[in-house]
Amino acid sequence: VRRALPVVLALVAAQPAGAAETTMPPKGVWLIDVSYVQSTIDKAWDGNRQAQSLIDPIPRYEPGAGLQGILSARPVATYQIALFQIAYGLFDWLTLAVNVPVVLRTTIDANFQWTPGDYQSSIGRKYSLDDFWAWAASLGQPRPADHWVGNQGTLADILIGARVLLPQPKVMRPLGLRIAGSLQVALPTGHEPDPEELISAGTTTWDLHAYGDVEVHLALDRPFLIEPSGVARVNIGADFFYSYFRPRTYQTPTGSLNPLILTYAPYVGSTYTIDPGDWFGATLSFDLAMIEGPTLNTWLSRRAGSTFGWPALLTLGVGYTYIATQQTTWQSSSPQWDWDREKHWLPGDKNLVRVVATLSLLRLGLPLQIYGGYRAQDWIPGRYTRAADLFTVGARVVLKAW
């Protein structure tokens, strides 16, 4: 589990020696992985690494009567996602994979709050939140629901990828390194949010802000303390990657549903473009084989012929990922409107910490691995990014036709 959604190849862990960043199934082996991911996001990091609401406060004014108050929200958005992954070892040195993320549903609790503004002589008091919405309703602006549910059974961007075990130069062999390169491409199958809705969420790579449209990885593993069974007690891995995001064009809200808050089209233009900017990231991971477990004489071991290098019964992995994010740029007919959004997406960074426990039952005769993990993006503050925390639980089956 690397970022907001598990990335295909990083999950392929049924690998001799338990290497984490360069794992690949051997030739002819299938990995079928099903997992449930719950991603929760409730904050964004500002330029001072301080947590802020995901939505800017909206000061509301009564024409000529000053500040009515400041409408703010502390939204909490939760994505529940099912991931279906299939990887196949075409050769021992080449793995192909596809990952189909299906958003089961997205819920957003807006948590609207109100800071009263100026005294309003016309009503003899300061506006309350209810006063404001009553006022807004008289201007044609409906009060949005505090709770939104959507994206039920909606595809996110499907990922396809390949990982290649790179030949090691002779000079590097004494280092005991294992080096792999991978390429991952997102297909634009995700769903964009309704532009006219005040509260909604999409399922594209940009909306999830978890992986790029195209990613290139270079990963290294170095096992230590290798047992006679082939299990490495410790593995240190590293991964360097570059994520490219394609520019995308969106429809501008016209205010048909929210005339007071989302009437942008007359000056923004009917469409606008977002260039999300690219990422550069690096991961450092440690995998500890906590319990090697017994290796039973089962149909599986007999069919395989050898159990050398099969994963330990229980492996604990911890990792840290740093991602430098480039400026996200908006392009419309209104530079001011663009800037009002760009100022929250200046060049910044993410700091991700993950913990994963994997229970491998191969040694007990079942071609099954069960794993669970947590990845936090708010333990170490970032800059100009949103902090999504992620809980994952899943199972993968290893299949091979002998």
């Binding site: 000061p59 009437t263 000056y267 209104s334 001011q336």
Partner: protein, 564 residues
Amino acid sequence: VRRGAAACAVVLIACGAAQPPPTREVLHLYGTPYARGLQHGAQLSSKIHSFYTTLLTASLFPYLGREQSDLETLLPIYQDPRYANGAFAYQLMLDSAHNVEHSLTDDERNELRGLSDGSGMSYDDVLVLNTFVDTLLAVRAIALAIRLSRAPQLTQLWVEGSPPQPYQVVPWAALTEVPSSPVFHVTLADPDGIDRASVRAEVDGTLLGADAVSFADVDAGVLDVRITAGDLGPPGAHTLVISASDTAKTDIPPPTHENVMRDEEILFTTQGTGLDAHDVLRPRLDDGRTRPPPVAFALRGSAPLLAQNFALLDANTAHNHTVVLVHHPDDGPAFATVGWAGVVYGFSGLSSAGVGGACNPSDTLNNSVVANVLAHVDDLSKARLVASGTPIGFTLRRVLSTATDAASAVATVEALSHVYGWSCVFADAAGGASHVEVDSGAFSAPAVHADEVATQDALIASSAYQLLLDDAPTLSVAGEHVVPQRDWSGFFFRSQRVAAAVQRSLTPSMGVEEVERLLGDAQLVDPSDSMNAVVIEPAARRLSAAMGQVPATAGPFEAVEVMP
């Protein structure tokens, strides 16, 4: 941005960061009126569309649209289909814009056409954008006056021990030499009855508790309120503020509310102060219930200065669209105005002839919209809320284009008919300064050349009339009351307070920096609707403006020189 991304990322530094666009611009416009409009429109096209949409389409039009249901009962023309389906506010503004257009010169219309062509915005929309301020103020004045006429009225005021006196709003002290621990009585009247819980009394910004305020019914809907102010200390000027609501609930317009009277600010002095009522300056009042209105002042002398702190309507958008337009016409003096994208004028400006001016709106029912309703008072089915006359921004433009000194500036203003009430100050390079108050002449009240309110070497004009106190008569029209400004305007009291604050702060031969600091004083700054602040040096032909943020004085003053 994409180029070099990898390099940026590798060294883990921020690069390619977006930069904010300017919220203030300075445009030099050359040539014929049409050419200048074209340049303005082309260079600020994005901001013009943005300003129109965010201020008018998404803010003012919906706000004004709420008045339709009330107005169409009085003026049935607004039941016409062309005002239906949300078109009421725009159509109302457009009706007035077309009417006001008759008062514009060919050059002014050509400039607007150029602006339309340059920006890609329709001529009608450009016309609305350039006329809505005066029209809106006039319509809003009518709505506000009607609303306040339904609220409780303060009818009597006296100090305990003296006989009851009819309450009359005056810009000076209503009571003088009262005891240092006074007990006041006010009579509140409303046919719906007074909500006792809503009665609010404060002295010098301190809300009085229930033990200091008691009530006695005088008659149905008439309440005597006894207010024990407590010991006010040494002799001095104080402010008693009274407000109350009636017992009727209304949700027109929402939210649901009672009919609330204006905060009546009663200025008084305690024994030993020794000032004539007219000489008492209103003290500072920090009760958080009002904000300073616009204020302008001129300093005569060898280095004359004209300054203005303008506040009216920012709506969280105007500050993103500020612009200083420096016109270089083919003939006539160059001139600069401080305003907004898509608007060909401002409420302050300076010409290369060394004449500067600044105007503040002054609430009045003696406005052109009322005048046009009165013209059809015998048959209201034909009456419309339509403005006529010259908007003050165009008036100021004509001053800057033609005036040679402050006196001729005043003459230009007085010669025009006006859409709404305004109070303007002019200063010239020779050290002259003049102040003029105008209304629309709907009740035959003339403009007042108010130069005589000069205080030593300074002229101070705020938002309320100082001399035109009887701007409108007290009468009923179709069941609605017409009253002078002092009886209904929410600007009336605070306007005198801000003028007093300026008067207390002015010193002989103040320099530009001192004046800029004064403009940033909390007593002068509206934190919500501040729009710009200017210091004009007519002799130096220099105009310094702070704008582009709220409040305007939170940013620096930046100078523009206006040379021939």
